[in-house]
Symmetry: C2
Subunit: 382 residues, 2 copies
């Protein structure tokens, strides 16, 4: 086997550091990287379990919930999504899903694979869900589960969860909320809003490495899982089995990703040190600075101010970008300036950029760096 | 929120370093820890994709396969197991599974949840599978899939895959092999043995952090997935969707766990530098030294020499251990000496220890450290 090839690859000596201003991952603070590089502990070591207790406690704070079942699932946010649906839905169950972007659509796909009867309530990409349409669908189909996205990463749209969640609970439905991009960037209040199951990711506003999905299930949700007549289709994501380890008995289920959890503990400590009030404000200020700074270059927001996310801004592209091919400009930003911005997804591919100002990167200086790079790339002589 | 609690936890200032001699995780080399602490790259960054190409190439070498579909799945080994079954099995499909320990039993559970008709061929824990019984079950049930464990982590038993795999393929069945504990400790030869789907974990003989599962599917297996009439029940583990990203088109599916893959790249480089021949010998020598060193203390191997694994030794416990309660002795080893050894699982709980000499820890000096600690804990005056 060629011994040198990978060694060289892992050195990455000729690369410049990246400013990650796409839809995630965001840049990880050096203290979080350092935490991940600590020597390993076993997944049943009392010292690791003590740290895990602290992580679960902090995640409850961040989700604003008393939910006992709150933990860092050992896979990315999409696995967290799947955990919610495969545990709460049995074949034939009805579910209403709001779809106004890629991740609502992914929810519908995942629910369908779990054998559920899915009612999709569609809205235009770039707009929030139509609350009246959601409420009407909930009332007419009487679903077991209602699901939607808090912060749609494909469009940059914020969804106020309150009205839809209330209507769902009034009809006895369980409410699932995608908090992948919202958690640690804007307030999340699971208990206040009456959310029964939520999931997030570590690589967005938490500014940790990708690979974990914080999830939380209410007691109502746990009871619904207990009352199932079919076994959960996924062994790996079975809430009952996960609860054996994360619930306090610490019975072996799978080997927890120790290093990633070390990093998450440090990432959560940074969030707690700053406090969500300051952190929310920081995200808002950075987003406002982005729009102001790029307006003179011809970029305009896709999403109206009242439902625009601060941590992920979807920008309509000026002719100076589209004339060169937007992918070429993104490539130049990466190659010449070390800046990553995100492409449009799905219906918005080729039409917009998605600029993330998440966690550690929610800084006006990140915006200034991007503006300078764009000025250089888009100037007539470039 | 209490800002100090987690910060204190992540410091771990008062703990001694651990010698991880359980069934995994094993100790991670400092260069792998350092690789994980590199600043992040995006999951679509050409530089990351180049590194990922190298990782996939190295995994093919290590699995001894030409399989194009070979990749580090973004979750632990149990998710790799689930990926094999949920892709290859449809509801009503027949599968024959060899069960002589926890992980064969887990396979049967996972296959059942996928709706398959499972024929379990049981063998005594501590013995290999009865090849004749497996072949008879394959011939009589004509299954779509035959699955068994190469290195059973719960018992320390080695299974020669050749006869069973040949019988399965002679009947047109697909063969699934659990290589969680074998990969990078003893030779794995997927193509030579005719294996169609295999999975492993990074935290055993690869000596990387837990959280990834190297998997490989043959072209026959990929064709079987393509020919399905039902969608794969898991979106996260759907081979067709995974292939969109890992197959070369690099279409976004989920955000790859960048930092863990940085670590894996370095871990694979270390394996390549040593070479599998030397590495296999090192595991064997360490295991032989373990048995010689602990025999005077009254420990004896559960498993007969001809099917005993080198990287995971299951030891019957002497009275000097059971008289104190085996869990108490394990706790003393951890607290007083920083050494972790594994408890017995399932039918062997309380009766044996599982001592891992995996990857970086497959060293005679690890054994000597354990022996000294045991001598101190088990001496009459202790």
């Amino acid at each position: 086997m060629p011994a040198t090839e990978l060694t060289e690859n892992t050195e990455k000596t000729d690369s410049r550091p990246r400013l990650l201003m796409g839809p995630g991952p965001s840049n990880v603070h050096p203290s979080v990287l350092k935490a991940m590089a600590q020597p390993l502990l076993g997944h049943l070591d009392p010292e690791f379990l003590h740290l895990l207790d602290g992580v679960q406690h902090s995640l409850r704070q961040l989700f604003s919930t008393q939910n006992r079942f709150t933990l860092p699932l050992s896979a990315t946010g999409s696995a967290g999504m799947e955990a919610c649906f495969v545990n709460l839905l049995e074949p034939g169950d009805r579910v209403v899903i709001g779809v106004n972007g890629v991740f609502g659509g992914r929810m519908a796909d995942v629910a369908q694979r779990a054998g559920a009867k899915v009612t999709r309530v569609e809205a235009h990409w770039g707009l929030p869900l139509d609350e009246e349409a959601m409420v009407a669908a909930i009332r007419s189909t009487q679903p077991k589960v209602v699901a939607f996205v808090h912060a749609e990463t494909s469009t940059g749209v914020y969804q106020n969860p309150e009205t839809i969640a209330r209507a769902a609970r009034d009809q006895g439905a369980l409410v699932v909320l995608d908090c992948v991009t919202s958690l640690a960037g804007i307030p999340v209040d699971l208990d206040g809003w009456g959310i029964d199951a939520a999931y997030s990711g570590t690589q967005k506003c938490l500014s940790c490495a990708p690979g974990l999905s914080p999830v939380s299930f209410s007691e109502r949700a746990i009871q619904a899982v207990s009352a199932r007549t079919h076994p959960v289709q996924s062994w790996f994501l079975d809430v009952g089995l996960l609860d054996g380890y994360y619930g306090g008995d610490r019975v072996y289920h799978h080997t927890a990703p120790i290093s990633a959890i070390f990093g998450l503990a440090q990432g959560l400590a940074r969030v707690e040190e700053e406090g969500m009030e300051k952190r929310t404000l920081r995200h808002k200020e950075a987003a406002a600075h982005l729009l102001e700074s790029l307006a003179p270059l011809g970029f305009s927001p896709l999403v109206a101010a009242e439902c625009r996310l601060p941590m992920l801004t979807t920008l309509n592209l000026p002719g100076s970008v589209t004339n060169q091919g937007e992918a070429n400009v993104r490539r130049s930003l990466l190659q010449n300036h070390g800046i990553e911005v995100g492409a449009g997804l799905g219906a918005l591919a080729g039409k917009v950029w998605r600029v993330g100002l998440m966690g550690e990167n929610a800084q006006t200086k990140s915006v200034d760096t991007l503006r300078s790079a764009l000025e250089a790339e888009l100037s007539p002589g470039a």
